[in-house]
């Protein structure tokens, strides 16, 4: 038996190496579909590539350009606003709904299923529904308020910069609440009832039970769910694309839609990649915040609660 053969034999049978073999498919998958595209995107952002041409390395030129671009600045501002406001509302409403749905009530299963509807409907379809709701001439909201005699003129939902911004945020909240509500509900159901029994015996109020039992025990779930929610919201695309396409005059442009418009429709891949790469630091910050801010409780690492 040669030494090399023996080495191969060891690689095949050694228990430590076995773990490596099992990891390999997953690692290859991540490399091919995650690391490679991300790396390529970052590389392209340093080039002047256009669709059909590989492009030359131009250093930070793309970044210098977008930083000074008024439309990019507006897009960054609105992306942050969109993410922060929508996530805050989604969290508050989602948590409230989860607490409600966790109560004993008739038709619980059906109600829980119904809550999921906004999440199940494909984004583009719900965007088209909102498109009608926010229509300048045919909005059902305008129509109802007019019939009630509360307003005289049509509401300009998507034609005014700030109206448009609040309108798309509303649509995003409507769509995102079920995900948070159902995830938090799942978390709530894992909380041990014994804690609540003990609290009841101690004479704790409902607020105290929420503040000192539910909330701390739910924190890890909240951290994960809100991280996802923030990431989804930050990278939202379809809703804006269908509702406003970034208009009026770029006031509802998100970094994601801007990146698509620049790279694919405008065929300036390098510049579009720079816009999407500029999203990465924000996303990393969101992940780090939830990781360090919400999850690093000592008791979560089995060290007792202080």
């Amino acid at each position: 038996m040669t030494g090399e053969h023996g080495g191969w034999q060891r690689l095949r049978t050694n228990r430590d190496w076995l773990g490596f073999w099992f990891m390999l498919p997953a690692a290859a998958f991540l490399l091919a579909f995650l690391v490679y595209p991300l790396g390529l995107g970052i590389w392209l952002s340093f080039t002047d590539a256009r669709i059909g041409t590989p492009g030359n390395f131009i250093g930070l030129e793309n970044y210098e350009w977008i930083v000074g671009d008024a439309k990019f600045q507006t897009a960054v501002f609105f992306t942050l606003l969109y993410t922060l406001v929508a996530s805050a509302f989604k969290f508050a409403i989602g948590l409230y709904l989860a607490l409600l749905l966790n109560q004993a009530m008739p038709f619980k299963a059906i109600i829980r299923a119904v809550v999921l509807i906004p999440f199940i409907v494909p984004t583009v379809l719900s965007a088209i529904a909102f498109w009608w709701i926010f229509d300048p001439q045919f909005s059902v909201i305008t129509w109802s308020l007019k019939k009630l005699g509360w307003i005289e003129t049509n509401i300009n939902f998507l034609g005014d910069a700030w109206n448009a911004r609040w309108s798309v945020i509303f649509a995003n909240v409507w769509r995102g609440v079920p995900f948070i509500a159902i995830s938090l509900l799942a978390g709530l159901q894992t909380l041990p009832p014994s804690l609540y029994e003990a609290a009841t015996l101690d004479g704790a109020t409902r607020w105290q039970m929420f503040r000192y039992i539910t909330y701390p025990l739910l924190t890890p779930i909240i951290a994960v769910v809100m991280t996802f929610s923030v990431l989804f919201t930050f990278t939202d695309f379809q809703l804006i694309k269908v509702l406003t396409n970034g208009g009026p005059a770029g006031s509802t442009e998100l970094m994601a839609t801007m990146s698509y418009n620049t790279a694919i429709l405008g065929s300036r891949i390098g510049e579009g990649s720079a816009v999407s790469t500029a999203m990465v630091p924000f996303l990393l910050a969101a992940i780090l915040f939830s990781w360090f801010g919400l999850q690093r409780r000592k008791w979560q690492q089995g060290e007792g609660n202080d």
Partner: protein, 445 residues
């Protein structure tokens, strides 16, 4: 108004007549197609098949006409053609990716400067263009601009989509006008009077790539403004642009509310519901009203009362319209270049093209002069103005080149956003111009 009731017998008779005519037509077409395949200069490769990606139709009868044309081609040449439909906005990215990777559909049918995004990847179709141009009275100027790159043709502009002023005759008359005025000053008066005395009109200021781009480019050019000059040098920062923006701003005060949120579909809906008097659009509103007129009294009223008009002329002193062009290109990577060329030529042969033009009921305008004689332009007086749009239109990029840079500027809404931000008071004229100028400099560097 009395309505003639259509009896079941009438319907049957009409149906039988149609079917008879249809059978005759089909037989004629088949004979022509076979003869054509025999004599055409392009002989499809053995076992050739084609895949064609087109924009998704806006008028059903146009697509039906196109499908019939494709079927006739397959029958004549034995080359199967698969037609894929994509929404208008998605054709360009798909084509770009296909050009980049060297695989995908053989033929793409897209917008404006599509072939000029990757001229080196397009099959040279100079022979097809020469053949058709010679046979059918020559190409209109804009078709030459869109089709040619350097000395050769890289695409065949198979049609245009006229973007014209749609208006309600009764509402315009109520405002004290007989028709759409011929110059920009009087047009302002009309819009003002419409809002004050009749029903207001409106043009899209949202990111409507069709209608929005059409009217703001008309406005910019009508006052002599231009994004770039003939050498692609950025010249947007000019007194002419200022005048155009000031005009648009005043004009927009006479619009119905909410046009800043309009995409390409909003004005269609509003016009069909008699909410607006004047807007810019293709003839698809008229087609929709016509299609529903039989069962919907409101649609019939819109159909009877509406009409189309070409755009007013501004201080520039000549028409400055911006109509959509639809070039069709074959990719160099295709395994069946002869079949692809044969298809492009076949499409524009009178026996096929005339029928398709009629099926499209003026939604498509021809690029070849001989088709001025097509009956679709005279059978319905309301469609006659659309006949001339290919001759009147300026090309994407204005005075400048029609290529990638012009496409980029359109995709980035450089002009549209400049107008929208001024009209919605988000920026002063000066600031809006400097934002556009900075962007244009980058695109045209």
């Amino acid at each position: 108004m009395t309505e003639r009731r259509i009896t079941r017998r009438d319907t049957l008779k009409a149906g039988a007549a149609l079917a008879g005519a249809g059978a005759l037509e089909a037989a004629h077409l088949a004979t022509f197609a076979r003869a054509w395949a025999q004599s055409a200069p392009w002989k499809p490769e053995k076992g050739a098949k084609l895949q064609l990606l087109r924009w998704k139709r806006f008028v059903q009868s146009e697509e039906d006409g196109f499908v019939a044309l494709v079927a006739a081609f397959t029958k004549a040449t034995g080359v199967p053609v698969t037609v894929l439909n994509e929404s208008l906005d998605d054709v360009q990215p798909k084509a770009s990716v296909a050009a980049n990777t060297g695989q995908g559909p053989d033929i793409f049918w897209g917008l404006y400067s599509l072939p000029h995004l990757f001229p080196a990847k397009c099959l040279d179709v100079t022979d097809v263009a020469d053949y058709l141009g010679k046979k059918y009275g020559g190409w209109v100027d804009s078709a030459v601009t869109y089709g040619k790159s350097g000395k050769g043709w890289i695409a065949i502009p198979v049609g245009y989509n006229g973007n014209v002023i749609n208006y309600r005759r009764s509402m315009v008359e109520k405002a004290g006008f007989k028709e759409i005025p011929k110059d920009t000053a009087a047009f302002m008066e009309l819009m003002k009077a419409l809002k004050a005395k009749s029903v207001a009109g409106g043009f899209a200021l949202g990111r409507a790539s069709g209608d929005g781009n059409a009217w703001v480019h008309w406005c910019l050019w009508a006052f002599g403004g231009n994004l770039v000059d003939a050498k692609d040098k950025v010249v947007i920062n000019s007194p002419e642009t200022v005048k155009a923006l000031e005009y648009a701003k005043e004009l927009s005060t006479h619009f119905v509310s909410g046009t800043a949120s309009w995409n390409d579909a909003f004005n269609n809906k509003a016009f069909l519901e008699s909410q607006i008097s004047v807007t810019n659009n293709g003839v698809s509103i008229y087609a929709a009203a016509k299609a529903n007129a039989a069962k919907d009294a409101k649609a019939k009223e819109v159909m009877d009362d509406m009409d189309h008009s070409l755009w007013p002329v501004g201080p520039a002193g000549k028409p400055t319209e911006f109509h959509v062009a639809y070039p069709m290109l074959a990719m160099r990577y295709t395994k069946s270049p002869q079949a692809a060329k044969a298809f492009l030529a076949f499409t524009l042969e009178a026996e096929n093209y005339n029928k398709w033009l009629e099926a499209a009921v003026a939604y498509i305008t021809h690029p070849l002069n001989a088709y001025d004689a097509n009956p679709v332009w005279t059978s319905d007086k309301k469609l006659t103005v659309v006949r001339d749009v290919a001759k009147r239109t300026l090309t994407a990029g204005g005075l400048g080149s029609v290529g990638e840079k012009a496409a980029s500027a359109l995709a980035d809404f450089v002009i549209l956003d400049m107008f929208a931000s001024v009209c919605t008071d988000r920026a002063t004229v000066k600031d809006a111009i400097s934002v556009a100028e900075r962007q244009a400099r980058r695109i045209y560097r």
